[in-house]
């Protein structure tokens, strides 16, 4: 049996999610630095803002892959985050460049706490989905160790 498209999707998602986990950790560290006064908010926003869209696009990308592979359950699990990203980006402050974070409001305790919480939630979500994709890949993949074992 050939290496299916769905298995390929899972494998790709697995790799991309690993990247997203790094994004999430990066965000958490950045906001923590802001909170403990190590960084200037302008610099910090300038480093974070270019990362926002790539993260969203990566997520959209493998969602589209799952759609093509007709992996409805996986797609369904990702829909809330997708919707959240769309909402988050449409309700961003008035900005000429890409990104979400405004240096003038980021130091507000509510905004900072929200961003930190968002970072942790996303990290948890990506970690869980990482293991889910691993599981999905193992189940579906024709060359997975499980199948090899059962064939023998």
């Amino acid at each position: 049996m050939a290496f299916t498209f769905a298995a390929f999707c899972y494998m790709l998602a697995l790799l991309l999610t690993a990247a997203l986990i790094f994004f999430a950790i990066w965000h958490i560290i950045a906001f923590d630095e802001l909170k403990t006064d190590y960084k200037n908010p302008i610099d910090q926003c300038n480093t974070l803002n270019p990362l926002v869209l790539p993260e969203y696009l990566i997520h959209v990308f493998f969602c589209v892959m799952f759609l093509c592979a007709a992996e409805w359950l996986t797609l369904g699990l990702n829909m809330p985050l997708l919707a959240y990203h769309v909402w988050r980006y449409t309700s961003r402050p008035v900005m000429s460049g890409p990104g979400l974070y405004d240096p003038t409001t980021i130091m507000n305790a509510d905004v900072l706490a929200y961003c930190q919480k968002e970072g942790w939630c996303k990290l948890a979500f990506y970690l869980l989905s990482f293991f889910y994709y691993l599981y999905g890949y193992v189940i579906i993949s024709p060359v997975s160790p499980l199948r090899v074992c059962s064939n023998n």
């Binding site: 908010p41 008035v94 130091m107 507000n108």
Partner: protein, 877 residues
């Protein structure tokens, strides 16, 4: 009151008996009183009938009223010496000084001579004045006769005496709750209101090579630290024990050695240090002023250039600065004009840059010149500038590129940019489109476009802030200018915004006068450059949000490229760790700036407040004006991030929630009516006034720019001026007398009573003065006392009052002198110049006068009584 009438005979008898008792035992009055009160409380526990409560409460209140009138019972402030040792419970100094005029504190042989146990007894049974329960639905005259004074924190007297002045540093709660959950229960906001760079008549300045600070939290030494012994002091913010440096042992004031606790740093809560070189990142910058003037057709039409140039010519020697002061000018329409003012030129040279997409400085060195060396050229330019553009036909205006040019010019040194703008910027970067639909002003349910349309101005402001450039905006226009977008340039660069709607040299002389006076103050007031302000607070407290004009650089640090004496700040606080075992907490605001003379200075304000653990103590220490000011700032944020209706609801809920909390958690006796502690009795009134304020009102036609400007002012003005904007003061002035008058620098200033803001207080035979902060109205009744008309206004009768009267004639009569002295005194109390409008019944301005009558019902807003009923309904739910 009808439901009580049936029982009156019984009541009167009891009361008579009580009063008799109280009168007979005059010497042991406290004793008897406390016993009586104690007995009542006993009765309360025995019998729980609702009517009985009423009787008892009424007797108590009647008794206390009787006492007040007769001065029978000394006020709490007089009974106990203020220096109480217990910080946590001393209701006497929570006694709000609101009623002070009736009640001068007097020494008394009372409890001081009683045994401690008896004194303690009366302490418990007597509620502090600020917690006296007021039924708002029944009490009509809530306003004190004079200005509302802030409550005094309940601290030992020796600490309170040196505490920071409330005009400079003020907290919404003068007693800090021990835990966040207690604060949440009280439903009152916790925050600080600051006016750090206020012009002070007396400011101790210390020059010393070492500034003593805590080694771990960098707090400056202040009056609230404790000296463990002569060689060690304990920080009051982080509790670290520090060494006293050798130099600090010597006291320069008394020239004595070994008394570190007598040093000026430890004796004054507000102090200024001259900073040594460690406090400089670069050599202190000179004073640099750049004026950016709009010279398009529209601008020339308003005629503002004459006023600006004239004012600058007059005040050119009074500009704060030293021999290094620099000045420069840029004008702009569809192109940017620079002025070469270099020494040696016979006349100013104008350089035009028409490439507004890629702005550059034609001669970078000679555009900003030393004021002293090139004063004549500058004066020449100022004289010729108004005529230079007299016939211009250019209607476009490239504000964005002009600002970029200004930023480029100043970025090497830092300094102050003053922009004069008269229309919506239409060319180049930062061009804006009109977003306001005038037909929607009154009908729209929710106000749109309160947030900026572009982030160009914000980004530029942040760049400016990084290079220590502040931008002040003068907006003189008759049409919509999108202040919401333009204002960002000042907001994030710590500048200030001035707005003169419908400014025109001929058509609006009152506006011109106001602009002239404001400009004079603006040009000559103190200024601090390249400033930062850090606010430190005791361990356990943390800063939640800042309000004002600045850029927040880190959690407790504000970057202020310029700081001026008319800027106020507000800070929301939260309690992160429980403040158990703490008697008091301290807050310290340190403002590091470069003075116009090139000196690096640090102004430090420290405030100490007691920590309490009961809800009643929190309520007793609530400062209603500070709470209102902070809520107004929070509401401005809310209306920009969420919506105006959301902000309005939040304000109403703030009053409902706090009164509910007071009713359920503090009051032991449930009564009908809307009950509030005396210190919060003005809270619903102020909230209603806020809802009717230009910034937050709905249903009335309000121009978007006016609204946004009002919002800017609420966030940026110091509390004293904000309060007048929210709740104007109304005085009757046709019968001014010298009774109770003040004597200010050999002038007698009458002090009329503050009236409630209701049309019912106006009478046709009087004249009323309304002080609304930036504007003063003098309303003349139709049948006004002819004496007032002739002696003060200098007109024979009512019909002869001119329609556009903006000043009081200088007549040589006692009445005229009194009135002018009073108006002059009101004006002196604020840095801006309020215009005086004399209005009659037919005046077009009558509508805006009546809009300030916040207690009355309007088409779209509730009256004060209706609002109270609404609040009551929600509270008793």
């Amino acid at each position: 009151m009808a439901h009580r009438s049936a029982s009156t005979p019984v009541l009167d008898k009891t009361m008579f008996y009580l009063l008799q008792c109280l009168l007979i035992v005059q010497n042991a009055r406290l004793l008897s009183h406390s016993i009586l009160l104690k007995n009542f409380h006993k009765c309360l526990t025995i019998r729980h009938s609702q009517t009985f409560y009423k009787f008892v409460k009424m007797i108590i209140s009647k008794c206390s009223k009787e006492e007040k009138k007769k001065d029978f019972f000394p006020p709490p402030g007089g009974v106990y010496p203020q220096g109480c040792t217990q910080v946590k419970c001393c209701p006497h100094s929570l006694y709000s000084p609101l009623d002070c005029p009736m009640f001068p504190p007097q020494p008394s042989a009372g409890p001081a001579q009683l045994s401690p146990s008896l004194a303690g007894l009366s302490l418990q049974s007597q509620t502090p004045e600020s917690l006296r329960v007021v039924n708002l639905l029944q009490e009509r005259n809530l306003l004190p006769p004079g200005p509302v004074t802030p409550p005094t924190p309940c601290l030992p007297q020796d600490l309170q005496k040196i505490n920071c002045h409330p005009e400079v540093f003020r907290s919404t709660l003068t007693s800090i709750p021990q835990t966040q959950s207690l604060l949440n229960k009280a439903k009152l906001p916790l925050g600080l209101l600051l006016h750090p760079f206020k012009d002070l008549s007396q400011l101790p300045v210390v020059t010393s090579s070492t500034i003593v600070r805590c080694r771990s939290c960098r707090t400056y030494i202040n009056p609230f630290v404790s000296f463990l012994d002569q060689r060690r002091w304990k920080c009051n913010l982080c509790y670290r024990v520090n060494d006293v440096p050798e130099e600090f042992m010597y006291n320069p004031v008394s020239r004595s050695y070994g008394e570190p606790h007598k040093r000026p740093e430890v004796q004054n809560a507000t102090i200024e240090f001259i900073a040594p070189s460690e406090y400089m990142l670069r050599p202190p910058q000179p004073a640099v002023y750049l004026f950016v003037l709009d010279v398009s057709h529209n601008a020339v039409e308003t005629g503002y250039l004459d006023v600006v140039c004239q004012s600058l010519l007059e005040n050119i020697n009074a500009l704060p600065g030293d021999s290094r002061t620099k000045i420069g000018f840029i004008t702009f329409d569809s192109t940017i004009h620079f002025y070469n003012l270099q020494e040696g030129l016979s006349q100013p040279q104008m350089l035009i840059v028409s490439d507004i997409d890629d702005i550059f400085l034609p001669t970078p060195d000679s555009l900003l010149v030393n004021l002293n060396e090139c004063k004549e050229l500058v004066q020449d330019l100022l004289k010729s500038l108004p005529q230079m553009f007299g016939k211009t036909m250019e209607t476009q205006c490239a504000l964005g590129p002009a600002l970029q040019a200004a930023f480029k010019l100043l970025s090497a040194t830092g300094g102050r940019v003053s922009i004069f703008q008269t229309q919506l910027p239409s060319l180049g970067v930062g061009a804006l489109k009109s977003r306001e639909d005038p037909n929607q002003r009154a009908s729209a349910k929710d106000i749109q476009h309160l947030s900026p349309a572009t982030d160009f101005y914000k980004k530029l402001a942040l760049d400016c802030s990084g290079q220590q450039v502040a931008v002040d905006l003068f907006l003189l226009s008759s049409q919509y200018c999108d202040l919401a977008s333009l204002g960002c340039i000042s907001r994030y660069s710590a500048g200030s915004v001035y707005y003169y709607p419908s400014y025109h040299q001929q058509h609006n002389p009152a506006g011109v006068e106001c602009f002239q006076k404001d400009l004079k103050r603006y040009l000559t007031r103190k200024i601090g450059f390249e400033a930062v302000m850090r606010i430190r607070c005791s361990k356990g407290l943390s800063i939640h949000t800042f309000h004002g004009n600045f850029f927040v650089r880190s959690t407790d640090l504000l970057s202020l490229p310029n700081v001026n004496p008319d800027a106020g700040f507000a800070v929301q606080m939260s309690i992160e760790e429980n403040l158990v075992d703490m008697q008091s907490v301290s807050f310290q605001a340190a403002l590091l700036y470069t003075s116009s003379k090139g000196e690096r200075r640090i102004r430090v304000h420290t405030m100490c407040l007691p920590v309490v653990n009961s809800l009643s103590d929190i309520f007793a220490g609530a400062d209603v004006q500070a709470i209102t000011g902070l809520l107004a700032s929070m509401a401005v944020d809310r209306s920009v991030t969420a919506s105006l209706s959301d902000a309005r609801d939040a304000m109403t809920n703030a009053s409902i929630d706090s009164l509910t909390s007071f009713r359920t958690s503090v009051l032991t006796i449930q009564q009908p009516g809307l009950l509030a502690p005396a210190c919060l009795r003005l809270f619903p009134l102020y909230i209603l006034a806020l809802l009717k304020q230009k910034a937050f009102r709905t249903g009335t036609s309000t121009r978007l720019d006016d609204r946004v400007f009002a919002m800017c002012q609420l966030k940026y003005q110091p509390l004293a001026y904000v309060m007048l904007m929210i709740h104007p003061a109304l005085y009757r002035v046709d019968d001014l007398t010298d009774e109770g008058s003040l004597n200010v620098s050999e002038r007698i200033v009458p002090q009329p009573r503050v009236q409630q803001l209701s049309v019912e207080k106006l009478s046709r035979d009087g004249a009323f003065l309304m002080d609304a902060g930036s504007v003063i109205y003098l309303w003349i009744g139709r049948n006004c006392n002819p004496n007032f008309l002739t002696q003060v206004l200098g007109v024979p009768d009512y019909a002869a009052v001119p329609p556009n009267m903006n000043m009081l004639p200088e007549l040589d009569t006692a009445e005229s002198q009194r009135t002018r002295a009073f108006v002059g005194w009101l004006r002196e109390q604020r840095p801006f110049f309020p215009i005086l409008h004399v209005i009659r019944d037919e005046s077009p301005l009558k509508a805006s006068f009546l809009q300030n009558m916040v207690e009355d019902r309007t088409e779209s807003a509730l009256s004060y009584y209706e609002f109270l009923l609404h609040v009551q309904q929600q509270v008793s739910k």
